[in-house]
Amino acid sequence: MNLNIAWLYPDLMSTYGDRGNIIAVTKRAEWRGIDVIVKDISLGTAVRELKSSDLIFMGGAQDRQQKIAGRDFLERKSPIMRDMVERGVPALFVCAAYQAVGRYYKPYQGDRIPGPGIFDLYTEHSGDQAKRLIGNVVAEILPSFWGASATPESDSGHARMTKRTTIVGFENHGGRTYLGPALKPLAKVIKGFGNNGEDGFEGAVYKHAVGSYFHGPLLPKNPLLADWLIQRALETKYGKRIPLPALDDTLEYRAQTAVLNRI
């Protein structure tokens, strides 16, 4: 078995440890004997490279870098990504990418920046005086997340068996994101701000695509999400249920618990 991972704009949208997500998915697949190829998809990359991928990842960016990637993403990459997401290809959109796949982003100065609307959400920046939402964050994955996957009972990882649903991370965003009716949140915030600091929810799920404000390395300390993405990728690619052998995640969960104990 093998997986092709498309890493969108690794030279532009990789702000603060985003590579951790790629490393986590790659290692956790390889430890189970699945070959992984990571393809860097950036401005000059032909779209067929993206089309032939089994899992999509796109990370955070600074304003300048996001602007550079913006047009290429909207005109060339996002139409293909939309088809892929619709067909069940799993994706992870973190931080700036989470905002970028929405319907629009309203900066505190200037006009709305249109997005492809792969996710039914919009983001607003409430001004340079508005507080940035920064800090360690803890959330509880909603039961609807497991419903969103085609075969929740096939999730055989250690995390699933022990019914772990807590995710931890760090958030740092000025924009506030609001979900439309076609989109379900990923998790309920226990500590921190999440999508907008108002409604108590964090992230979004559409088919097998996940968006989150947990920036940078979301997956290493939340292996259940990493495994969920790997499993959805294999199932969509091979068209059958493929149980993943459990891994020893003792260290992963000790790191997670250490964060929980600190806040």
């Binding site: 440890g17 304003d63 300048r64 870098q65 760090f170 940078g216 290493p220």
Partner: protein
């Protein structure tokens, strides 16, 4: 409020002594904080006492080492210096340094102020430089503590703005101009862009040695796209992170020629060569000869925690402060070149370190050769251990208790060999305290 400056100085020296006496900290910033409260423009008085001017060192990495090198070069040249040591690089730290060296009447008897300044504090400091000769060293801009500093581009924007109001011909009322000279890193495209936009006189330093080019670019790159036109930069070669010999094939923006220099770094690591070249440029600007600069640097002893050396049980211990991905990668590369057999990595997430430890995933631990043993410790020991696990390193050991981690790491080093310690800022202070036998406050 109009308090005579002499009263402030006397009161503050008292506070400083009291604070040390009561064990409230080293007293490095308290006096300044208090003085700024009593007299917000107190720096005007101090800088106007300086006979020749001010040298400001700014940038993400290398401020402390570079400013210490400049201090050494100038002092060896017979100049009297006021300097904010030990990284107290906010306004309060700079004011404290001035108070400490002021006479009872509140006057400073010195030729130059040599101040390292925090990225965010540079714009706050410049307005106090009225009418003075100011040499500003721009070392580099890397990602550093996004939770505290924001993005690299935001810092660049702040600096550009700060320089603009100080430019000649823009001397609005109350903003008298300083005579600003820039000393800027030509190998950092964003720094060059800031310098050129300011239209201020600039001396560029850099490295012209293709043999130092990296074979494969590291991941933690901030500025591989043109700061002017936004298109991809061409690199003839990369020294580390986004520093290298670059040009933009689209708009023609390119690395400017650098001041010729054969100065060698007194410390290992390519990043110290940049610090050395920057300090050398400043030395030349203020009239030192090549020979005297060379001689000064040959006798340079490293700053606090920056390749600082200790000996314990016949084994050497070297501290390499490593607080962001670019710095950590540079340290890692240097200790690998020095043939390290064991390293101790310490990750804390306190305010001076940044609360966010995501950046460890941008550090290329995958480059550590097999056989090198790593001990990991710190507040976020499990995050670091996890990073080790996913980097494929097999020889790593975790020890949350720092004194035991140091012992354990030392056990893995043979007599005559060196243990390399790569700590974040607060971790570096802790390691130092353990090694020097002083208690942690």
């Amino acid at each position: 409020m109009n308090i005579p400056i002499s009263v402030i100085v006397i009161l503050n020296n008292l506070v400083s002594r009291l604070s040390r006496f009561l064990n409230l900290g080293a007293g490095a910033t308290w006096p300044g904080e208090l003085a700024l409260y009593a007299k917000p423009d107190i720096l005007n008085d101090f800088t106007s006492d300086l006979r020749k001017g001010v040298i400001i060192v700014a940038g993400t990495n290398g401020k402390t080492t570079t400013s210490l090198m400049i201090k050494k070069i100038l002092e060896d040249n017979g100049e009297r210096i006021v300097h904010n040591a030990s990284g107290a690089n906010l306004l309060n730290g700079i004011v404290s340094a001035c108070i400490k060296s002021a006479s009872r009447t509140g006057r400073i008897d010195a030729d130059w102020g040599v101040f390292e300044v925090d990225e965010n504090s540079l714009p706050l400091l410049l307005p106090f430089m009225h009418g003075r000769q100011v040499n500003i060293v721009f070392l580099n801009l890397f990602r550093d503590q996004l939770d505290r500093y924001g993005e690299v581009d935001i810092i660049a924007e702040k600096w550009e703005k700060a320089l603009k109001i100080r430019s000649p011909g823009d001397g609005k009322r109350g903003r008298q101009c300083a005579d600003i000279q820039l000393i800027a890193n030509a190998d950092d495209p964003l720094i060059v862009s800031i310098a050129q936009k300011s239209a201020l006189p600039t001396v560029f330093f850099g490295i012209d040695s293709p043999s130092f080019f990296l074979k494969k670019a590291e991941h933690a790159t901030d500025s591989a796209y043109c700061p002017r036109c936004g298109r991809k930069l061409f690199y003839q070669g990369v020294y580390f992170s986004h520093l290298g010999v670059w040009s933009c094939p689209h708009c023609g923006f390119a690395r400017p020629p650098v001041q010729a220099s054969r100065l060698r770094s007194p410390l290992p690591g390519l990043y110290n060569l940049y610090n050395t070249r920057a300090a050398g440029c400043v030395g030349k600007l203020v009239g030192c000869t090549d020979v005297s600069i060379h001689r000064s640097l040959a006798g340079f002893t490293p700053a606090f925690g920056r390749q600082e050396e200790f000996v314990k049980d016949g084994k050497k211990i070297k501290l390499f402060l490593s607080k962001n991905p670019a710095g950590f990668n540079a340290s890692l590369r240097t200790v690998i070149e020095l043939k390290a057999t064991a390293v101790l990595l310490v990750l804390n997430d306190r305010i001076p370190d940044g609360r966010d430890v995501s950046w460890i995933w941008d550090v290329d631990f995958e480059t550590v050769p097999p056989g090198v043993q790593a001990v990991v410790s710190g507040d976020r020991v499990y995050d670091l251990a996890l990073r080790m696990k996913y980097s494929g390193m097999t020889e790593y050991h975790r020890e949350p208790e720092l004194p035991r981690a140091i012992e354990s790491a030392l056990d893995r080093v043979r007599p005559g060999e060196t243990l390399y310690v790569l700590p974040t800022y607060s971790a570096m202070l802790e390691v130092r305290k353990i090694l020097t036998g002083k208690h942690i406050l």
